[in-house]
Symmetry: C2
Subunit: 337 residues, 2 copies
DNA sequence: GACAATAATGTAACCGGTTACATCGATACA
DNA sequence: TGTATCGATGTAACCGGTTACATTATTGTC
């Protein structure tokens, strides 16, 4: 592997000239530039990124902390991150945390150890050990999708409460009054916000909110299936189910069908996210569309802005959502009372 | 940020002693070790990974070249890679190539530029510029899932031909004789192998192989939907469709249903991969299960072995597949002649 | 033609670890 | 007591770039 000194020797110039030729060609005379470039070519020289990174104290890598890549929604977010990062000359270090906090903290250590310049956190958890968060000082972190209540950094999220409310209102407008919810993990702010929106809509319609109508899930197909099973065992069946994501909705549909019931005829189902499978499921899923790749792209852009212009102020962005009505929700066929 | 010299000063020892305390504690006297560890603690010292990497010429990163993270199957493979890499102290640099070869080559340059120690390539394309591939010399690359015909490196794949044959035989055993195929990209070795297996089965059963029964797709839901549309416009309908992956199968099912036909009553559908959605689709999908996360884990392990023991010989592994029969395939209801 | 200003290039320190080699003290043995 | 051996520690070179500062060449102005 050839290094800058070999190239310098080959071109008959100093290492500084080689470095300058490659970094700011305009301050080198054309004749020298030619010589150097020829030598670079001849030597098959490529600057050693490790040396560059070491010297410039910049890795040009972003660490992305994600609970699971295997989740369709996150996969799209990551795809967006990757695209934006690549455009701006950054690499993406993928950190699958499986929701385990010690893994998150460990991965965040990469920033401290200078293996990444910053972190994109897709979960509501601050992976930096407490003392590293100097108040008022911007962390090299952007928190997207599911955000901390008091994030010490820039955030990008949906108005989850409003979106959940809209979705619930849609169900109510179809005549449903007995609407259960299949939630994500209970501690998550995402769940809290969506439950709040659901409750807002119910109460605005004069329907009593009942915590026993919340069923636990974890955003997987299997958990939606399981929760639907529990729900079907209840003495009174709901006429509609609001699932906190599309995967759980698809899992629930399967379970309901296995119980011999029809969607939406017997029970309406709504999801959240509008993953690609949502419009291909049977029946196609009514859901809240959120711009997954934009989440990723904006997160990467905001983080890189912060890294390149440290004075960039902390920002909190909200991306637009959209209610997409498909065939999994239909007018309520019967009135329970 | 404190460095090793500050710690040395604090502990009243030399930098070498600090380095040794952290790397090989056993060759340092217990008393000194204590002093140093206390100083490390006091200074909040963490070795600068960039410096370590630079000096040791190892980044401990693996570059993963993947066409799209957004694909459910790849997402699982990546998840497996990440887990194995993390266990062995490696990071994963995600490189979304969108199937564009120039992006692949560019990313492979990261290895040459020492930003990653090796590459896991999930597509049949050699991203290293021709001359970099010295014959007989092991590249720091492992090729998994879709592999090159003459890969200059270790590979991990399925016996795609045998798997496709089994799946086709399953359809034939149900009485189907008019079986079309929705393919992936035609140039891909994956497609070639699967078509070969499909053809093997047809010919073994005395059914004429007809290239006009191959429809083009690109592994997305939408392409399966589209291909099914073309297929439904043909003068004679098939009684079964073999889709080269589950996404396209699910897309095809949707299109067929929209045409007023039933799966599997009118047309049987089979997929490939056994993604999570396969068992939750309507009807649940008959498919070939392949161990996606094992692909990832093995690929990472093999690459890391190669990096840590360069004498490791090139290996070509085949992972097991399994025919999973669900409800999307059923006996052929009518005999065309 | 002399001098200042500017452009082009060279020299060498530096980033923060690692590690070969040197040094020093203690113990062991003749 | 002298010397060989070994363990513990220190010194300094090194990895391969970048860049402040120094030096030299070139151009412009009076």
């Amino acid at each position: 592997m050839s290094n800058i000194r070999k190239v310098a020797e080959l071109a008959g110039v100093s290492v500084a000239t080689v470095s300058r030729t490659l970094k700011s060609p305009d301050i080198v005379s054309p004749a020298t530039r030619d010589k150097v470039l020829k030598a670079v070519e001849a030597a098959g020289y490529r600057p050693n990124r490790m040396a560059v990174q070491f010297r410039s104290r910049r890795t040009h890598n972003l660490a992305v902390l994600v609970p699971t890549v295997a989740n369709t929604f996150f996969a799209r977010v990551i795809s967006g991150i990757e695209q934006a990062a690549q455009q701006r000359g950054y690499g993406v270090l993928l950190c699958n945390t499986q929701g385990r906090e010690e893994v998150e903290t460990q991965y965040a250590g990469m920033v401290a150890a200078r293996q990444a310049d910053g972190v994109i956190q897709l979960r509501a958890f601050n992976p930096f050990p407490g003392d590293a968060v100097t108040p008022g000082q911007a962390l090299p972190m952007v928190n997207a999708c599911e955000v901390l209540d008091e994030a010490p950094c820039s955030t990008i999220q949906l108005d989850n409460r409003a979106a959940a409310r809209e979705l619930t209102e849609h169900l109510i407008s179809l005549g449903h009054r007995h609407i259960t919810m299949i939630q994500g993990p209970r501690r998550s702010p995402l769940t809290r916000e969506r439950v709040a929106g659901y409750r807002d809509a119910l109460e605005a319609a004069g329907i009593r909110f009942d915590a026993s109508m919340l069923y636990g899930g974890d955003f997987t197909l299997a958990s939606g299936y399981r929760a639907a099973g529990e729900l079907l065992a209840a003495p009174v069946l709901p006429t509609a189910i609001f699932c906190e994501n599309d995967e759980m909705a698809i899992g629930a549909i399967r379970r309901i069908r296995e119980a011999g019931l029809l969607v939406p005829d017997d029970i309406s189902i709504a999801g959240f996210d509008d993953i690609a499978f949502a419009s291909f499921s049977e029946p196609p899923l009514t859901t809240i569309a959120q711009p997954a790749d934009t989440f990723g792209r904006r997160a990467a852009d905001m983080l890189i802005d912060l890294l390149e212009y440290p004075a960039t102020p902390v920002r909190h962005e909200t991306l637009p959502h959209r209610l997409v009505v498909r065939d999994s929700t239909a007018p309520c066929a019967w009135r329970p009372e």
